[in-house]
Symmetry: D3
Subunit: 284 residues, 6 copies
């Protein structure tokens, strides 16, 4: 999991920035009520059923406010959690608990919401060879958190950004003057460790992509029948991905076709949060 060694490297700056977004000077309410440092503990309580993701981020927010923060964890990322469950108990300076609460929850709730949404779809793919992918339709400055949450929910990550993956779309093809020349230019230009993915909107484009040696062919907004014929034409010579508003109903059809990947932007751009809250704070 990417909470290992290098994680804070990239996450800490974003978490600090989020804390500063919420505290530009001081937490005036908390500081007004409690004038001195004192240690306290608080429960993280689940208020609806779902899948938890991001508990290390949640903890890290408090650590950035109080390095002596401790947390007892009763559930782990990927676990199914239910309304009423106490997920963790955080112990820290009371000011850190109160000042960090909203930011820590904003991360955890959103990440858990994405994991919950992802799980509901990835479960439907179980038993098939088809895997669920995310996209780059993430919330700005949230990508490392949201793509992690997709993995927790049983999904797989597509490319992380424009620098580390090739995806030739219709506009690129037009600009290049055809599928073949576009793929050739990509093969010449991009680091050899990259696979070349091409978006195809018709069987003819699939054929050209195959000829030019694409590694992955994305079947874009095809109806189920066309998609089936495309997969037959490709016949294992490239990996296949389909995208474009794949609703629950069509998933079974698509799985039946033997497509390798379904990508779904809604995982990250249109999930509900998972309702969680901090309860029963007590000074110790």
């Amino acid at each position: 999991m990417n909470h290992l060694a290098a994680f804070n490297l990239n996450a800490d700056d974003l978490l600090m920035q989020a804390l500063k977004e919420d505290i530009t000077n001081e937490d005036i309410t908390t500081n007004a009520i409690m004038r001195e440092k004192c240690r306290g503990r608080v429960q993280l309580v689940c208020k609806e059923n779902g899948v938890m993701a991001g508990i290390h981020i949640f903890k890290r927010v408090f650590e950035l406010l109080d390095s002596t923060t401790e947390m007892d964890v009763f559930f782990h990322d990927g676990d199914t959690v239910g309304s009423g469950d106490v997920l963790a108990i955080v112990t820290a300076d009371v000011h850190a608990l109160l000042s960090g609460e909203r930011t820590a929850l904003n991360y955890l709730q959103r990440m858990s919401g994405i994991a919950t949404h992802t799980k509901s779809i990835s479960d439907a793919l179980k038993g098939s060879k088809t895997k669920l992918l995310d996209t780059r339709k993430t919330t700005p400055n949230m990508r490392i958190f949201e793509k992690y949450a997709v993995k927790v929910g049983g999904g797989y990550n597509h490319r992380f950004n424009l620098s580390d993956g090739v995806l030739i779309k219709d506009n690129h093809i037009n600009a290049a003057g055809g599928v073949k020349v576009a793929i050739e230019r990509a093969k010449e230009y991009v680091p050899f460790v990259r696979k070349i993915e091409v978006e195809a909107e018709s069987l003819e484009m699939v054929r050209q992509a195959l000829e030019a040696g694409a590694d992955i062919i994305m079947l874009d907004n095809m109806d189920t029948d066309t998609m089936k014929r495309a997969v037959e034409m490709i016949d294992g010579r490239a990996e296949t991905e389909c995208s474009g508003n794949i609703t629950g109903d069509r998933i079974d059809e698509i799985v039946g076709i033997g497509i390798d990947y379904i990508s779904c932007g809604a995982l990250t751009h249109s999930s509900f949060i998972l309702d969680l809250s901090l309860k029963n704070l007590e000074v110790i």
Copy 2:
């Protein structure tokens, strides 16, 4: 609107950071396909009905990649837009258009989604004195964009963060030893330009808050009848806000009570995006 003078001051850093999240080195696909600079234009097309918000952010993303970006705008923030509408035409270096597309849309789609969601609720409040408020349950590092979108959708902003507003919650009250002492401490500590808001879960707490001189009383998770009695007790001596999963059905009841404000976290934490895309790119 906050796209005026000082806006770039705070927005630019976040937009740059989002662009760097998506482009850590270069856009290898676009640079592979098009080796030289050339100017192009592309249409921003609406794919479902809603309310647009954030068109200046959308443009700013491209400007940060190419300072000569121009945009013809056919709709403005707050306008109702429909599926098929061309909202704007952006003209810039083709590389800027292709490399900035996803980031620009990620902002605009999310902001428009929030405005659309907000509008659907704020419209229901029209004709009454009750106003719709957002909360601090925003996506980390998206607050200035999300709170702006709420305003575009006809909502009003609650406090921006922990430094610029006072909201005494149950935990604060416990820590202080009562509503009265908590309010007194706040009045003594916080800058006099701040109003003092207190969360009340019972009529008794409402009574104490009134006595201690709270400026705003938040009626937290009360049933409609209790809320009604609370408003009568307050009788204009403090502003009133209610929160806690106010679903569409209860809105009419609450409006009837004459509450001043309804706050709704879902506006920012659980809106769907508005589906938009860039189409018909052409080199010019």
Copy 3:
């Protein structure tokens, strides 16, 4: 006090930046003289009478250079200190002590100077209902430190910045076309948790501000008699603030009028520092 949980969040970046301003590469004098790490202690000595403010900032500067820094504190923020008093003893790596000395003192001396200045005026207001306020006339990038020092000296903070408080000045009124319309626009636009303050230069403007429902009226550069009539006219319907070079002599008059607040820019823009130094460094 705002040295609680969230303090380092905002202060650390500024302190680091100040250290880097003073050490762009290394402290060549100290490193030349002492080639190896060794622990030492040094006294913080007071050289004139005043009020101390910022001892936690002072310590934090050394901690940022040496995380094992320890400090014995003999006086606390707000205490009156006298020439010759040893205020604290700092123990750390000698290099940290010597390299951090100037930056730590630059903060502590300036903050203590402001607290001392503030105390001299706030003491004159004791026994009255009138309170002393600071302004936004702070040294750039020093606001959180300077506003804190004002509180330590017995003053109160006005709004922190342009985002978290409303103050309608003459230019705003001109632009809007009158006091009334300006206040109406503010009430419509700004978050409801904000109070609306208006600057009034005449009794007529006071009258209009009252009618439009201003929360606070600032009596700007009025003579004592006019100010008295303004306070009578307002009669508790708004809070009152006066500003404009309130010298020591006029304070008694103004207090007699029953004004709520006196704001004073000189607290932060024209205070002398309090003379302090580090003495008797010894290697241990």
Copy 4:
């Protein structure tokens, strides 16, 4: 002057940071009153006699908010200005004028205050060979502005920071075990382009510093007679600097001795600001 080519390199970050300190989200008052962009102009008016310093910084603040800012300047840095003088007229978007006003003035007033203070002392040294120096007792994160203001006021800059100059103080001497060994270590360690300055509190220390080949000897807190004998002993073999609360009265005595430099921390740590304001804003 350091407003040349490289200036923005270091100043812009600090100015942006100061603007963000004052505008964490938006200028709610100005944006409430004026909803649309419009161009305006405003006068920079002087309210007391002094020396102006920092007019380019003043302008730069507005430019950072509105790149189309224009300024007509009627006085230049170093000019004597009088109460009532219009120093400049700034033309820009009205929102930029109102939102940037306080930050621009906070810089200009402080810098002009330092220049005014410096001028009053440097004028007293005119006709002599003795020059006035600043110190590192500057306000944190203001050094480039404050040291520039000292030059504008006719003073000279001492070392900029701990990395670019050597000053061996009593604590260094103690740690090294003597003046001679301290100087030797410095000569061995520090880049050869640096001069070696030593603080001497007695004639014996002056003698040792001379023998060890110090480039500059600072006569620290000596009475006038001892200082005279020190200068005679040095006899041009090193430059001489004196420091330590040199009040106006002693300046004549010290000048008579023929000391090369007088350093004065108060120039930067205890100057009053120069009173300036923005007046007569008009929409154009």
Copy 5:
């Protein structure tokens, strides 16, 4: 080329930082000599034969100091340049020219040195199918510039960093307990757009890597004969890369084997710079 749209996005921060490394306050020599702004031009002169790379970076350094910088370019990236050639003429404020000279040259000389070194090896591979690769052995905070220079010199880029490419080395294999399990874990974990590369030190490891379905096999420190047998065993089922101090003499042997890629760390870690200088500055 990556000087297109998104380039400044990542380069500008690094260039600004390099300028600040060289100018912490002001360029005191230049500012001393020339007190007023004036425009000038200077020639970029080549002093030894080689390949130019980075001319846009060179120009950008001056633009960051003076946005009105203009440059006439007589050679382009990838061109062979000779001693005495005038490569470009830069026109800008003289202060910008003098203050930016060293930083601009430090980039251009290093990048051109790398391109020259790369060209000398890539030329030796011409006519064969074997391509020359760089590595991650770049100078810290110089990677985007150094990898670009490799491309200019006719080399190809390997993965950009640890996030965007998989390379399983001996330590990973040990930790996993074998080649096969290591590859399986990678296939399960890493985004599907990534190829899986494995380092093999023996024919047995090559066999296992093939079986487990590695996309690329790096033949590490093998003698030519073993490498030959490895390529035969692989037989096109994976791409092949060899590394490990490939000196000029062995290149012909390796090319004969039909290896796909040779990677060479020295391109970026041990190239000499190309000698260039700014000459004949004149004020205009």
Copy 6:
């Protein structure tokens, strides 16, 4: 040494940035292979003879990934190391070891390469009064590391940057209209703690520089005979430096002349790295 107190102040930001350059999201290979935290140790092995420099930087890279990193050091900066020597053993989380390896080595190898190169020349100067200097021809954003490595190798540092040293070159002299006026302007403008260095290309320019009171005269590209006459003319009235492609052969001649300093850009711009690697990683 500058790894003392203030070192991390400036180094940490650069090291973090270098780590982020290599890890934009996560180390996918390592995280794929090892899913849980576990502690390990690894040897730092030397693969060719040279001088080690930067072992504290090497360690610091791992500490920034894992604050519990420990290191047993068997050699120190400045020590001669030989092929096969184990220089240190690092113990930390295995993920930190694997993810930080390349960045840590990139620093240490480059710094050691510079120290090795420097040592080879500074050894040739032993027994003479002539010292070896570095220049500002450093790799961008590597200056503090490269200049430190020069010192470790027995060299001395010239000025650190354009703000802390004066060096009047031919272009400055032309612009000023002569050596004398250039030196006068510098003496008037620059802080008095700075020495004035002038570049002289002829004996006539040496004479003028002497007359105008230059502190250091750089003899630029002179033949040995002219250099000899210049040193005789200067006769100890200024320090002497020579530069301009001083190859090994000429060093003896120049030393014989009695020049004070030889500056050599190649130390930092054209050194080979020292070959080092991490070996024998084991989980503990």
